[in-house]
Each structure stands twice: as C-alpha cells, then as structure tokens.
C-alpha cells in the first residue's frame, strides 16, 4: 500500500461515520439504549469500587467512554466500564499510591491515557488482524479467571471485612472459613446473600434485567436491617453521596512524578490495552457470527483508542466493550451505534434524577452484584465443551490457572503464547501417504511444509538414498525456503547414490 493510500484509509476510518442512519430502527435502538443505561448504573458503581475510585467516576466512564466508542465506532458494541480492565488498572496503580487518594486517581487517569494512546498505536499498525489468533479457548479461560477474581474481590464487601490481602485467592476463602465468627459482619453477609440469591433465581426468568432486580431487593433488605438496628450496631457500609457532574472536564496533571509512574507501568499499560481490545474484538467477532451488522474491526479499535485517550479528560478511567450489555442490546434489536449514544445520554438523566436515592445503597448489595457478574462470566457449559478437545482444554486450563494464580497480566501473555503455540503445533502437522508402484515410490504430502514441519518427511527421504521417489505436493498450500532446501539436498543425495527424486504433478 502506498503511503498516500494508507493515509487516506486512516482518514476514512478516523472520521465518525453516520452512514448507519439509513438502516436504523429508531424505536428499537431507543429502547435498547434506555435499558442499557439502567443496567450500566449498578455495574458502573461496582466497577468504580473495583478500580478504587469514587462511584461517580464509574458513571462518567459509562457516559463518556460509551459515547466516544459509539460515536467513532460503527456497530452496536456497547463501550464503558469493564471488569477485567478495572481489576488491572487497580492492580497496576496500587503499588504506587494509597488506594482512592487524589494521587491514586491521577495515576489511574495517567494510566488510562497511556492505554488509549497504545490502542491508537495498535490501530495505526493495523493490529486488529493480530487478535484473530487469540483462540476462543484462551478468551474463555480469561473470562472464567476474571469471574473467579471478581467473586474473590466481592468477598470483602459482601462480608463486611477489612481488606484482606493474600497471595493466592483461595487463602482468602480459607481465612474466612477458619475465623468467620470474628471476621464476618452478619448484617452485611445477609444483604449480600439475599442479593446473590435473588439474582441467581431471577436469572432464569429475566436473563436481561435480573441484576437490577437483585440490587433493588438487596437494597430493600439493607434498608430494613438498617431501620431495625441502626447504623451503629449493623456497621453496614453505605455507598454515600454520588456527586454527579454532567460535564466533569479536567486536565490530567503530568508532573515528573507522573512521568516516572508512567515509565514504570508501561508493561501493564500494554497488557490492559491488549486485553481491552481483545474483549471488544471478541464481541465484534461474535456479532459478525450472529450476522448483527457489518463490522469494521479497525474502526472498533480506533473507537476504543479514542474513548480511552479521552477518558482522563472527563475524570474517568479506561474501559472497553462490554460482553453482557452488548448482548442485551443485540437481543433488544439494536444494530447501530444509536443505542450506545442513547444509553450515554440516559445515564446522565438517570444519574441526575436518581442520584439522591443511590446515597443509601448498601455496599454489600454492590458486592453481591460483583459476585453475580463474576458468576455470569463463568460459563460452565462452554468450558465443558472445550475440555472435550485435548488442545483447547489445555489452553483453557492453562489460561485459567495463570489468571487466577499469577494475575491477569501474566494470564494474558500466557493466553497469547498458548493460542499461537497450539496454532503452530497444529499447522506443523504434515501427513504423507506412501504407496509403491513397482520400483517407484509415491509419496503424497498434505499440510504446510516449513521449517518446523519437515523433520519426519526428511528423515523418511534420507533413509533410502538409492530409491526412486515421486513426491506429490499438490496438497501442500505453503512451502518455505527451508523445505525447498531440504528437497534440493535430497535430490542431490539421490543423484550421488543413483536414486531419483521427482516432484508431481510436473514430474520435474
């Protein structure tokens, strides 16, 4: 591609494309957007808690990251706060500043800016192609691992514990099991249990809106306990006043301190950028498979990059596409970015209208939502399907193990390596069928012939230097220089020993 053509392509992608207005079904998009806004509010608050920032930042993420992703994207993919990205932001910044402090917030914003810029870089390098090699097994492994992490991180809020830091997730469960009578706040535990139980029961009947109902029931139970016992006995943690500002403009501070921080977290920023894009593109792949719209992957990468680059300027953190909210939107008939734009606007309206009511939301109910989202991410059925295949099962288990025990950033690296590794292993399998036609030996080869797959064939050919062989390469789609050299070497060896090697079908 010439530089001029490349520039023209980039420019065409970078401009917001409103061509979808010709195929829009306004009512369906409107309803999908309104429902999406109602669904995102409890999630946004929960994910802000996960990042370690005040609840309003989660709402800003739902509004502004969602808005930019829909404005520059060209699909019904819903952007906004995301579980895995939230966890990783928090883990990356935690070693550098006290959780929730102003410096911590500045660092999260700086990291979000980095994530966005890296994603824009990936767009410029046409990186969307690379995500094709992310195997579904690895993605499901990461999702399941994140589900486990979510349930673990919900534990403290749900049981009213002070933050426990343990090296591995199961130690937390062990600590709680051993000394539950000292650690667990029964009131918090009751609210969380009611929230989770309601969610699990209602999930069957209302697969789309069960989280909203669970939060509502949890809050009502929380209020009832609060009424009977009062704040001092129960010690239930409440959400507190959500100071929602419809236009939270802010210029991220970049002092030498921030530069040092940014230098230190480059690997994490890359991991978050890759993970965010991987999720968006997996959603895109899913939508394509369902026939829900004609997607341009590069454009979705760009939209995500712009959204995250802008996020710190609106006092919020990076996000990505959301699996659960996108699938709800698609089920409600959304096919264009209009639903995302409506959702962003509706969140502003809802937050301004119902902000006062959120003040008394009990945190154990929020933790219950976290656990419900986590449980929703563990897809037992898909995992069982994967485990039937040895290779995919291995990739899934390996990814799941690394994510839960060694952390998400290591998990992503392992997922990429395992995907590519098994892909290469599969590609390097070469079959050959040997048949004899009198003295002539006929070998029909099928598979890619390249440096990693030559071994067995070359051993076979070198074993009988004096034979006459016809090598049938009609079913070899790819043959690299190493394979050519090998064939040439065998031919020379045959020539020296009085044998012959010919290539079919030309017989040259």
């Amino acid at each position: 591609m010439t530089p001029a053509a490349y520039a023209a392509l980039l420019l065409r992608e970078a401009l917001p494309d409103f061509s979808w207005h010709r195929r829009v079904d306004v009512w369906r998009e409107l309803i999908a957007g309104l429902l999406g806004a109602a669904l995102v509010i409890p999630q946004a608050i929960t994910f802000a808690y996960l990042v370690g920032l005040p609840p309003e930042t989660g709402l800003y993420c739902a509004v502004f990251v969602g808005l930019a992703a829909s404005l520059f994207g060209n699909s019904a993919i819903v952007g906004g706060p995301n579980t895995a990205v939230s966890i990783m932001l928090s883990l990356a910044v935690m070693p550098f500043a006290g959780r929730g402090s102003p410096v911590y917030m500045e660092f999260v914003l700086a990291l979000s800016l980095m994530v966005g810029v890296i994603q824009l870089g990936i767009w410029l390098l046409r990186g969307a192609e690379v995500f094709r090699y992310f195997s579904p097994a690895a993605i499901i492994g990461i999702k399941t691992g994140v589900g486990v992490l979510l349930i673990t991180s919900a534990l403290e809020g749900a049981l009213g514990l002070s933050p426990l830091s343990t090296q591995f997730f199961y130690e937390k469960f062990y600590l709680v099991a051993v000394s539950w009578d000292e650690l667990v706040n029964p009131y918090s535990a009751a609210i969380a249990a009611v929230t989770i139980a309601t969610g699990l029961v209602l999930k069957r009947f209302w697969p789309r809106t069960y989280i909203l109902a669970a939060v509502a029931v949890g809050s009502i139970v929380g209020a009832a306990i609060y009424l009977v016992q009062g704040p001092l006995v129960t010690q239930i943690e409440l959400l507190g006043h959500v100071t929602f500002d419809p236009l939270p403009i802010r210029v991220p501070r970049l002092t030498p301190q921030h530069w040092l921080f940014m230098e230190a977290v480059v690997p994490q920023a890359i991991a978050i950028a890759v993970l965010g894009l991987a999720q968006t593109l997996v959603i895109a792949r899913d939508l394509k498979a369902r026939g829900a719209g004609n997607l341009d992957l590069h454009k979705e990468v760009l939209a995500q990059g712009i959204a995250n680059t802008m996020s710190p300027f609106f006092s919020t953190f990076a996000g990505s596409g959301s699996f659960n909210r996108t699938s709800v939107a698609i089920e409600m008939g959304a096919r264009t970015p209009l639903s995302g734009l409506v959702a962003a606007g509706a969140v502003v309206v809802f937050a301004l209208a119902f902000g006062p009511l959120l003040t008394n939301l009990p945190m154990p109910a929020i933790a219950g939502v976290l656990a419900l989202v986590g449980i929703g991410m563990i897809e037992a059925r898909e995992a069982r399907l994967l485990l039937r295949s040895r290779v995919e099962g291995a990739v899934f288990l390996l990814t799941l193990f690394t994510v839960t025990f060694l952390g998400l950033d290591v998990g992503i690296l392992v997922a990429v390596l395992a995907s590519v590794g098994f892909l290469l292993a599969g590609m390097s399998k070469v079959g050959f069928v040997v048949s004899h036609d009198g003295e002539l030996e006929r070998i029909a080869v099928s598979g890619n012939l390249f440096y990693a797959s030559l071994d067995r064939l070359s051993r076979h050919l070198h074993a009988t230097p004096a034979a006459r062989t016809l090598l049938d390469l009609t079913r070899v789609p790819y043959c690299d220089a190493a394979a050519n050299a090998m064939i040439e070497a065998v031919r020379r060896e045959r020539h020296a020993h009085g044998g012959r090697l010919d290539l079919a079908p030309t017989g040259a």
């Binding site: 911590y104 009062g230 704040p231 001092l232 006062p356 009511l357 003040t359 008394n360």
Partner: protein
C-alpha cells in the same frame, strides 16, 4: 581560639540549617510543591477535606458544615477543638463505649457532627484526615493531651442557663452572621435546622457549646460574652430543631436523609 569560634559558628549555622530543612512544610508550601510523596499528598487531601468538606468529602458528608466550622482555622486554633490530638489516641470514649483509634474518631465526626454516612475505616477520606491530624500533632507529647485542647470548661456561674435570655443574646450578637433563623449565611455556618449538626453531636451538649462560644465567638471579638451569656446562648441552641441522633431508630433517620437529599436536589433544580 579564633579557629574554635569559627568552628562553633559553623556548627551552629549547620544545626540551624538542619532544623530549617527538617522543619515541617507549611500547607502553603505543600500546595506550591510539584512533587509530593504519599504522606504529604495525603496531608494535603486531609487539609482540603477539613476546609471544604462539602467538596472533597462530599461522599460521606451530610449537611452544610465543614470540619473547619467547629475545628476553627482548619483545626489549628487553640480552645476550638484543635486537631493536634494524634498522640492521645487510641483511647476509650464513653460515647461509643469502645477504645477509639483516630480512624473511628474521625468516622464518628462524619456520622454525628456532619450528620452524614459513617465512612469505612479504610476510606481514603478517613485516611487523609488521619494524616492531617498526625501532621498537626508534630511536636506534641505522645499520650499527653495538648494544652488548650477541646474547649475551656466554664466555671460555675451560680445560675441556670436561661434559653429566653439566650435568644435575645443570639439576636443581638450572633444573628448578624448566622442568620436570624440560624440556617447560616455565606459568612458563618448553620447552627440548627436540617443543614446543621445532629442531636448526637458533641456540640449538642450545653456545657461544651458554652465553652466553645465563650472562647471563640463572635469572631474578631472573642471572649466578650460573659460566662452566663455563653451558657444562655448554648441552652437556646440546644432547644432548636436539628437532625435526629443516628443512635435512635433508623426509620426517621432514613426518611429524614432522603427528604434532605431530595430537598437539596429540588433546590438545585429550581435554580
């Protein structure tokens, strides 16, 4: 001899410089600095919460007061509940019947004086105010209550506090800044009504309020009231309507809080 004197002067200068270098940075210096370490940034955040609780501590605050409304000048004024008290915590308090760390003490303030929501122990706001309290406590003796802590205890005046007389004193001296209806003005915080401290707050005790008023009010003309006048005004304040004590049952407290938030929201919407 001369050399010894020179050396002595040198050492003294060095010591002076060291002391200057080691001295605590003022808040103004911290604000001007580009790079702050975690402790300093936390102190600054705590200072901001104390000065503008409704902006920086909005998540847990519940009324129109800021910490500095009672802890005057950001907790640096003697006899006005100064905040240089890190050295006396943890200590047992009759109010909640347990040993209070500085964290629980701060959380109590959010619940009673700020009539808000009790933040969790690990909330960044609590940690920041704790850091600020530590910062202010530099130079105090650990375990020894600082001089001029709390408010002075007024001597026995020989007469009971008289609320009607307090009302006239209030109208004459206090109403100019705090407003006739006690709901506060731009110059001074609300003393009663939905935007003020609740019935469980420490300042709702007549004794303590009288000490505070006598030592610190009116601003610019402190200690001009007689002990009896201060007691009368305190008794008058004690009789006014203010938010419920959160230790009483939760129903009315919950209804009140929702009403409060909604009325704030309505007022904002009307603007």
């Amino acid at each position: 001899m001369k050399r010894t004197a020179l050396a002595a002067v040198g050492i003294l200068a060095l010591l002076g410089w060291c002391q200057g270098a080691l001295a605590r940075s003022t808040i103004e210096e911290l604000k001007a600095r580009v790079v702050l370490d975690d402790y300093e940034s936390n102190v600054l955040f705590g200072y901001n919460i104390v000065m503008e609780t409704n902006k920086y501590g909005a998540r847990y605050a519940g009324n129109g007061l800021n910490c500095t409304s009672c802890h005057l000048k950001g907790g640096t004024q003697p006899d006005a509940f100064p905040l240089n008290v890190a050295g006396v915590y943890p200590k047992w308090r009759s109010k909640n019947g347990v040993r209070n760390g500085i964290g629980l003490r701060i959380r109590d303030c959010f619940l009673y004086s700020l009539n808000g929501i009790m933040p969790p122990e690990e909330a960044p706001e609590v940690q920041a105010v704790a850091a600020y309290v530590h910062y202010l406590s530099e130079g105090e003796v650990i375990g020894k209550p600082p001089a001029h802590g709390g408010v002075p205890t007024l001597p026995d005046t020989g007469a009971d506090p008289n609320p009607p007389r307090g009302a006239t004193v209030y109208a004459r001296v206090c109403a100019a800044c705090h407003g006739r209806a006690g709901h506060g003005t731009a110059a001074a915080p609300p003393l009663w009504g939905p935007d003020s401290y609740n019935a469980g707050a420490g300042l709702n005790s007549v004794q303590r309020a009288a000490g505070f008023i006598w030592a610190n009010m009116p601003v610019g003309n402190e200690r001009s009231l007689t002990h009896q006048e201060a007691l009368d005004v305190a008794a008058f304040l004690h009789l006014q309507l203010r938010p419920f004590d959160p230790r009483d049952a939760g129903l009315k407290k919950l209804a009140e809080r929702i009403y409060y938030r909604l009325s704030k929201w309505m007022a904002k919407a009307q603007q």
